[in-house]
């Protein structure tokens, strides 16, 4: 019964997304949208991918990782090398970026996911910085001056990648594997005692998250003409972290929403460079004061429409938003 209810909301969102895609595609191909807005749109898409992939690691599996920009960098550089140096088609570069980031995720994840909380955060932060410094010192990819990349990222590519990311993460979450990850987040000892291979699922979430961050990196690299190691510093990791926390830890649609909102806010604040960071911080502070559980809490957009049904069930089940 519940699966039927969920899938209704799911197909509705797919249809809405396709309509949105067609409208955008139409306006872009007719030149009705100026390049600034097109660029913002792409940036939103990339940020959604980053936010949802980190959501899987932090929001679902509860592993506090703040080195996500590292995976972004691995994906960006790997794909840039593919298209610029090896002259392979874009689709292969996209996949290569994702796969390489996933491999990096596994290599980093297996040792560091034995750590918990603050220690894991420090280890992943260290990973992100290592990636940046290593890239800074490889002359093959241009070192500090960066690497020229041709503009290949188009709206259909971004849209397809965003959709695939969201659907894969949603499908993973709404399955026994997702529940295993959530049980690790809720109580690792109890999960272990219930026969869940906690290490396996922590690494799995890490690898899937890293893969999509890598794909996002490929799109990112081919959207900006140039990539430099300084684009992937720890501030970038924090930006992504903010999407996830602000959207509501554990809510997929929340992280999507937060990515959209904050990207728009930062983009339009670029006209006011002096006060940009002040306003941005103010937005964050106000958010944390008035909605500490994030935009969506742990809820999903689809449950907002079908939510009335669940309220009719067990008595007094509706007011659990007061944390």
């Amino acid at each position: 019964m519940t699966t039927l209810k969920n899938s209704k909301g799911f197909w509705l969102s797919i249809v809405l997304a396709l309509i949105f895609f067609s409208v955008m595609q139409f306006t872009i191909s007719n030149g009705m949208l100026n390049p600034f807005y097109i660029n913002t749109l792409m940036f939103i898409g990339i940020n959604i991918m980053l936010a949802t992939s980190l959501h899987l690691i932090i929001g679902i599996t509860g592993q506090f990782s703040i080195g996500h920009a590292g995976f972004l960098a691995v994906g960006a550089y790997a794909s840039a090398v593919m298209t610029m140096k090896l002259e392979l088609p874009f689709i292969i570069a996209l996949l290569a970026g994702g796969i390489l980031a996933a491999v990096a995720g596994m290599v980093i994840g297996i040792p560091s996911l034995r750590l918990k909380g603050d220690y894991l955060a420090i280890a992943t932060l260290g990973f992100g910085e290592i990636v940046r410094i290593v890239l800074l010192n490889i002359d093959y990819v241009g070192g500090a001056s960066g690497m020229q990349v041709s503009h290949l990222t188009t709206w259909p590519w971004v849209f397809a990648c965003v959709m695939i990311t969201i659907i894969v993460i949603r499908n993973f979450t709404n399955s026994t594997h997702g529940r295993a990850c959530i049980s690790v987040r809720e109580d690792e000892t109890a999960a272990d005692a219930m026969g869940i291979n906690t290490t396996y699922y922590k690494v799995a979430a890490f690898v899937i998250g890293a893969f999509f961050a890598g794909v996002a990196g490929s799109l990112y690299a081919h959207n900006f003409y140039i990539i430099q190691p300084s684009n992937f510093g720890f501030l970038k990791s924090f930006d992504i972290l903010i999407f996830v926390v602000l959207g509501g830890l554990g809510s997929l649609s929340g992280s999507v929403l937060a990515a959209i909102l904050l990207t728009i806010v930062t983009t339009f604040l670029q006209d006011y460079p002096e006060t940009r960071m002040i306003i941005y911080s103010l937005v964050l502070i106000l958010m944390m004061i008035f909605r500490p559980q994030g935009l969506m809490g742990t809820r999903e957009i689809t449950t907002l429409f079908t939510g009335k049904k669940t309220k009719g069930g067990p008595k007094d089940g509706s007011h659990n938003t007061v944390a």
Partner: protein, 259 residues
């Protein structure tokens, strides 16, 4: 009880944390179908002993064998899959998950569909999830928890949370169930209900149960045999009436007699 092979054989097991011997030289044998109590004063090492059995701690000495198979250095999740399941002294439910999902997590190790099949929504995913769903609902009915199935576990009343924790432990399909102070914080009426439940599941699921409990009258009432731990060592074991009159046990609980 006939002289069958023991389900669980604990042979001079001990663990030390640095210089502290938390548990040492404990020998326990549990036979299929038994309901056995483990008692002892605070800090006697009862929960540590449970943690040794379930693989949370690795014993520094001795061996633990389930059905003759040595469990040494097995990770906790493998031990659970081999048939030892437990509840916790402080309830450890997956509080943000719904009641039914808590049970489904315990079914996870039986799931046949892999990650890829769920991601791409292959037929295996749907049949696997459906089977889990139906099984979990049936299971919750046994415990009268099915009316709460979509409620978050943290919103259940305390007594129901205890019930759910036991249900979840049973869903993992154990041969041996370890209950760590299941009656803690319950009133006499709830405790009685709990005891009936334990007696019921033991029959229904063909279980062997090892029970840690503080409430002496409760342990004496239901357990067939009792082990007594004090300062990490077994000081007595036997039938309830033997334990009740054992001078060592009385000393451990009430202190030495002033001569």
């Amino acid at each position: 009880m006939e002289a069958t092979i023991p389900l669980l054989k604990v042979d001079s097991v001990g663990i030390r944390f640095g210089g502290l011997k938390a548990v040492s030289d404990v020998n326990v044998e549990l036979f299929p179908g038994e309901l056995v109590g483990l008692i002892g004063p605070n800090g006697a090492g009862k929960t540590t002993f449970f943690n040794l059995l379930t693989g949370v701690y690795v014993p520094t000495e001795g061996t633990i064998a389930l059905n003759g198979e040595n469990l040494k250095k097995q990770p906790p999740y493998k031990i659970t899959r081999k048939g030892i399941s437990r509840t916790f002294q402080n309830i450890r439910l997956f509080s943000e998950l719904s009641v039914i999902d808590n049970v489904k997590v315990a079914y996870h190790s039986l799931a046949k569909h892999r990650i890829a099949s769920s991601i791409f929504r292959l037929p295996g995913h749907f049949s696997g999830e459906k089977e889990m769903d139906e099984k979990a609902i049936e299971f919750l009915k046994i415990f009268n928890l099915d009316q709460y199935k979509d409620e978050k576990a943290k919103n259940l009343p305390y007594g129901q949370q205890r019930r759910l924790e036991i249900a979840r432990a049973l869903a993992a399909n154990p041969k041996l169930l370890l209950l760590d102070e299941p009656a803690a914080g319950m009133n006499p009426h709830e405790t009685k209900e709990l005891m009936n439940l334990i007696a019921f599941i033991r029959k229904e699921f063909n279980l062997t149960v090892l029970l840690i409990e503080h409430d002496m009258s409760l342990v004496m009432g239901v357990c067939e045999r009792i082990y007594v731990l004090d300062h990490g060592q077994l000081i007595a074991h036997g039938k309830p009436e033997e334990i009740r009159n054992d001078p060592k046990v009385i000393e451990a609980y009430l202190g030495e007699e002033v001569s």
